[in-house]
């Protein structure tokens, strides 16, 4: 399955290897790994999501990328629940024959995931908890794919 939403961590080497397993027509694998930053004394980051919609939204983003670039494999894993600084939040892996398609599709998926997939981050700090504000720069990043 191309898309997973889960609390558990994942095996990066196995996930990357699976993108090209059993085939030799793949020349390029671009990946992105998002981590919890411990800025400003962050204690933990909790991710809420909209379970009935999340995988559907991610699968829709992957389908858009596959319609736009010649991709041989795509994998998206997004974690939810409480995560500590340094822990992984999201993995996107894209396999293609050539590097430009792999890089662009990987960045495209991240840009859409950031602005179109129903996840919300809440920061725990020594001063209390607060919801993370959406960033205008994330919405602006979509413009280059228009």
């Amino acid at each position: 399955m191309a898309v997973s939403v889960q609390h558990e961590d994942f095996d990066l080497a196995a996930e990357t290897a699976a993108l090209s397993a059993g085939r030799s027509d793949i020349g390029a694998i671009a990946t992105f790994l998002g981590l919890v930053r411990g800025d400003g004394g962050l204690v933990a980051m909790s991710l809420e999501h909209y379970p009935a919609m999340t995988e559907k939204a991610l699968a829709g983003i992957v389908a858009q990328a596959e319609a736009r670039w010649p991709l041989q494999a795509v994998r998206v894993i997004h974690r939810v629940g409480r995560l500590l600084p340094g822990e992984r939040i999201v993995f996107v892996g894209v396999a293609s024959s050539h590097r430009a398609a792999a890089f662009e599709a990987c960045a495209f998926i991240m840009d859409y995931l950031k602005t179109r997939a129903p996840f919300w981050k809440k920061e725990e700090t020594p001063e209390g908890a607060r919801w993370v504000d959406a960033r205008d720069s994330d919405e602006a990043a979509l413009a280059r794919w228009a």
Partner: protein, 85 residues
């Protein structure tokens, strides 16, 4: 048929409500934006749905616009701009 409404993240906390079910669409409400206005008119905490607030909507688990049409049986969700990834 009933209509299910979900609230997420800071909006869920502000409203003190994760989910509610209406027995049917309120009279005159035909769009996601219309439902938002109707909910906002409850006043108090519900003014978190006012037009000047950054609120997103989904109808049947797909992102929706204010003009997106509603039908009986739909699942509508309201939430703040997403912050995953």
């Amino acid at each position: 048929m009933s209509v299910k409404i979900l609230y997420f993240a800071s909006l869920r906390e502000t409203l003190g409500c994760a989910e509610e079910t209406l027995e049917s669409l309120p009279a005159g409400v035909t769009t996601a934006g219309g439902l938002r206005e109707w909910l906002c008119a409850r006043g108090g905490d519900w003014s978190a749905l006012a037009p000047d607030k950054a609120v997103r909507a989904a109808v049947n688990q797909s992102l929706a616009q204010a003009a997106s049409p509603l039908a009986e049986g739909d699942e509508i969700a309201f939430f703040p701009p997403v912050t995953g990834g």
